[in-house]
Amino acid sequence: MSLINYSSREINCKVVYYGPGLGGKTTNIQYVYEKLAPETKGKLVTLATEMDRTLFFDFLPLELGEVKGFKTRFHLYTVPGQVYYNASRKLILRGVDGIVFVADSSEARFDANIEALYNLHDNLKEYDLSLDQIPFVMQWNKRDVPDAIPVSELVEELNPEGYEHFEGIAVKGVGVFDTLKCVAKQILRQLQTT
C-alpha cells in the first residue's frame, strides 16, 4: 500500500522478499545493505533466531534522491521461510507494493520452491490479492550450487506466466541489484498507471 505524503513530500513503497527457507532472501537484503552508501539506507533490522534463521522479518529502508521535490523510499522486508512461521509471513504481506520471489536453484530444494510459491498465492488471496495485480519478480538464486536445476526447467515449472526473472548468486551479489531494480521500477510504473 504505497503512501504519498504531500506534506513531508515522500512516497513510501513496501517490497517483500518471499521464498523457501534458506533460499537467500536475507542474503539479498544484506548485500544491498552492505553495498549502499550510508546516506541512502537506514538501519537493517533483523528479528532472527539464535541460529540466524529469520523469525519474524528483516527490514531495510532505502531512500532515493529527490525528484520534483519528492523523496521516494522503499522499505524492504523478508519473510521467514519455514512453513511453521506462516502466520508471520502472512502479516508481512499486508500492504505490499511489490514481491521478489527468491527461489533456490538446488534440485534438493525444488519442492520447497513450489510449496513456497503456492503458499504465497494462498496468503495473497487472504488480502484479496493475486500475483497479476502486483509487481512481481523472480530470482533463481544459488546458480553456483553443483545440483543447480537448469534455468529453463525452473521457468517451466515455477514461472509459466513469464514474470520477469533473474539468475542470482546472492552471497556474491550476482543478480541482487538487477532483481531489486526491476521490482522497484515495476512499482513506480504501477503507481503511475493505477
Binding site: M1, S2, L3, I4, N5, Y6, S7, S8, I11, N12, K14, L36, T40, G42, K43, V45, F56, F57, F59, P61, L62, L64, G65, V67, K68, G69, F70, T72, R73, H75, Y77, A87, S88, K90, L91, I92, R94, G95, V96, G173, F177, L180, K181, A184, K185, L188, R189, L191, Q192, T194
Partner: protein, 165 residues
C-alpha cells in the same frame, strides 16, 4: 498520473499534527506518532527520540499486526489498544480507522490512566480525519500532476544510479 492507495494531503497532515500535539501536551507524554499498518511513519510529534524512527515504526506495525492475529486466534475481533511497560519508558498503542496506529511514548512523569483517557479522545478525532482522507482520495489524487511520465523516468534514473554495480 499517480494514484496512491492512500495519501496524506497538506491540510490533513496539519490536522493530524494538531491532534497529536494536543494529545502529547494533555497526556504529558514525551512523543506521539502515527504509523500506517505497513509500518510507514505518517507523523511524529515531540522532541528528538534519539533512535531510528523508521525501524521503530516498522516494528510497531509488526507488533500491532502480530497482536491482531493473536486476538483472532482467541476469538477476539482485535485488540484495540496495546500497552508495553518499561522500567522508565512505556508505550501505548491505539488502533485508528483503516489500520492506522497511534503510538504514545511516555515516562514516569505521567500515568497510564491519563494516557489512556487522552488517547481515547484523540482516536475519535483521528478516526474522523483518516476516514475523511480516504473519501477525499476518490477525487483528490487527480489534482496532483507532479507524478507524470517525466517523474517516473527521473525516479527510474535514480534507481539505476542507486543500484549501479
Amino acid at each position: 498520473m499517480v494514484r496512491a492507495e492512500w495519501a496524506i494531503f497538506e491540510e490533513d497532515f496539519w490536522a493530524i499534527n494538531n491532534v497529536l500535539e494536543d494529545l502529547r501536551k494533555s497526556s504529558k507524554a514525551g512523543n506521539v506518532m502515527l504509523i500506517d499498518r505497513t509500518g510507514q511513519l505518517v507523523s511524529h510529534c515531540g522532541p528528538d527520540v534519539g533512535f531510528d524512527l523508521t525501524s521503530f515504526a516498522s516494528l510497531c506495525a509488526a507488533d500491532f499486526e502480530a497482536n491482531y492475529q493473536l486476538a483472532r486466534l482467541i476469538g477476539e475481533k482485535d485488540f484495540s489498544t496495546l500497552y508495553h511497560q518499561g522500567a522508565k519508558d512505556s508505550m501505548f498503542l491505539g488502533k485508528i480507522a483503516k489500520g492506522v496506529v497511534l503510538v504514545v511514548l511516555f515516562d514516569k512523569s505521567t500515568t497510564l490512566g491519563l494516557v489512556r483517557l487522552r488517547v481515547r479522545h484523540a482516536v475519535a478525532e483521528l478516526d474522523k480525519i483518516i476516514e475523511g482522507l480516504y473519501d477525499k482520495l476518490e477525487y483528490r489524487n487527480e489534482e496532483y500532476d507532479t507524478f507524470d511520465e517525466t517523474f517516473t523516468r527521473e525516479v527510474e534514473a535514480e534507481i539505476d544510479s542507486l543500484f549501479a554495480d
